[in-house]
């Protein structure tokens, strides 16, 4: 069909190709059904996900990305035990696109599964659906041997943003796997509690810089000035990425007392860090930092120059 705006036939007519003996024709039928964007196509695509040909099954799993609801979720979950890894990968990706909370009905019964791939995909799928019933199985999944499952479990708990889950997140923040710890630290950002702040401040001393970076970034979300001292210590971190997030967080917290500690960091030969420092110095608007900013008014990096100009203008105002 060559028209710019295609007119689709009846869904049942489009689905006739699914019965063709040739896999190529069946793939085209799947593509046409997906392009129709008609929810009436879902049962046909759910049928195609059990096709004899792996290419058709993969295409059906990809096509279901454009649909939502329990029937779509059930079809995708069924594909997670496919014999072809490409079909499983496509189904797992499509599961993460679900937005209708009702789709969780088809995923929830599988959150007790022990298979790493299936459980990981189901947790990733239910995360953004924010189903409270997922809290218990996600908490249980934190004890799974596979880090990939634990990361997704932390994601589910983090999205639910329930203070009751704080102990579980605090436990995950001390996980043996660095990515689990990093995810848990980022997930703690929703809580304004002292317990969460304590865990975040402790994470600023984590042996892995990516965890320290996440902690420095997340601390600003608390909006609590009691974090300022810990963030000022983080300005001395050996990794500039951690220092950058600490600078940004201090800016968000309006920590004017840190301005003269941040200003000399303009001399560090990392343009991204200078850019952030200039922006935060403008935000904090402390007059004593002007000489540090003026020194970089003609910086080699255009973003630094732009931020310096903005910061000087803001301080002068």
């Amino acid at each position: 069909m060559s028209a710019l705006f295609e007119e689709f036939d009846d869904i049942a007519d489009l689905a006739e190709g699914l019965d063709d003996a040739d896999p190529g024709t069946r793939i085209m039928a799947v593509i046409d059904l997906a392009d129709s964007a008609d929810p009436a196509a879902i049962p046909y695509l759910a049928r195609a996900i059990a096709d004899a040909d792996a290419g058709v099954r993969k295409q059906a799993a990809q096509a279901l990305t454009d649909f939502d609801g329990p029937e779509t979720a059930a079809a995708l979950v069924s594909a997670l035990t496919d014999s072809d890894p490409a079909v499983i990968a496509a189904a797992a990706t499509s599961l993460t696109e679900l937005k209708d909370p009702a789709a969780g009905d088809a995923i929830l019964p599988h959150l007790g599964d022990t298979d790493e791939t299936k459980l990981s995909a189901c947790l990733a799928g239910i995360k953004e659906l924010r189903r409270p019933e997922a809290m218990a199985p996600a908490t249980a999944a934190l004890a799974h041997a596979a880090p990939g499952v634990r990361i997704q479990a932390v994601g589910v708990i983090g999205w639910l943003q329930d203070e009751a889950a704080l102990p579980a997140l605090q436990g995950a923040a001390a996980d043996a796997d660095v990515q689990v710890r990093r995810t848990a630290i980022a997930a703690l950002g929703f809580s304004k509690s002292q317990a969460a702040r304590t865990a975040l401040i402790a994470a600023l001393s984590d042996p892995e810089w990516i965890v320290r970076e996440a902690a420095a970034e997340t601390l600003a979300k608390s909006g609590d000035a009691s974090c300022i001292a810990a963030l000022r210590n983080a300005l001395e971190d050996e990794y500039w990425q951690v220092r950058l997030k600490a600078v940004r967080s201090l800016g968000k917290l309006g920590a004017a007392e840190a301005a003269l500690q941040i200003a000399p960091m303009m001399d560090i030969p990392v343009p991204n860090l200078r850019k952030e420092c200039a922006a935060v110095l403008g935000e904090l608007a402390v007059v004593e930092t002007v000489p540090f900013l003026e020194k970089y008014a003609d910086d080699t990096d255009p973003d630094v120059r732009k931020n310096v100009r903005w910061a000087l203008g803001r301080i002068a105002a």
């Binding site: 190529g24 085209m28 993969k58």
Partner: protein, 80 residues
């Protein structure tokens, strides 16, 4: 227009045995942002995708979205 006298290769190649342009598939043509792919129809009526214009910028959707894995984008060494 002078024709090239040396053997050349194009970045995007299509496996004719796998291509299902015959069935009406135009996925690679549709997703190409530079519009360099076309469907060729041979004398016997069979169809297959091919690279008509050598302007590829190696963005890869033609390879990634091909439902049968028929399309291959040959990345230059320095882009790998």
């Amino acid at each position: 227009m002078p024709l090239a006298q040396t053997a050349t290769t194009v970045p995007v190649t299509v496996n004719d045995d796998l291509c299902i342009a015959d069935k009406g598939c135009t996925v690679c043509v549709d997703v190409c942002p530079l519009d360099v792919l076309r469907i060729a129809e041979s004398e016997d009526g069979s169809k297959t995708a091919y690279m008509k214009y050598d302007e590829c910028w190696y963005c890869m959707p033609c390879e990634a979205d091909c439902p049968t894995g028929a399309v291959t984008v040959n990345l230059p060494y320095l882009l790998k």
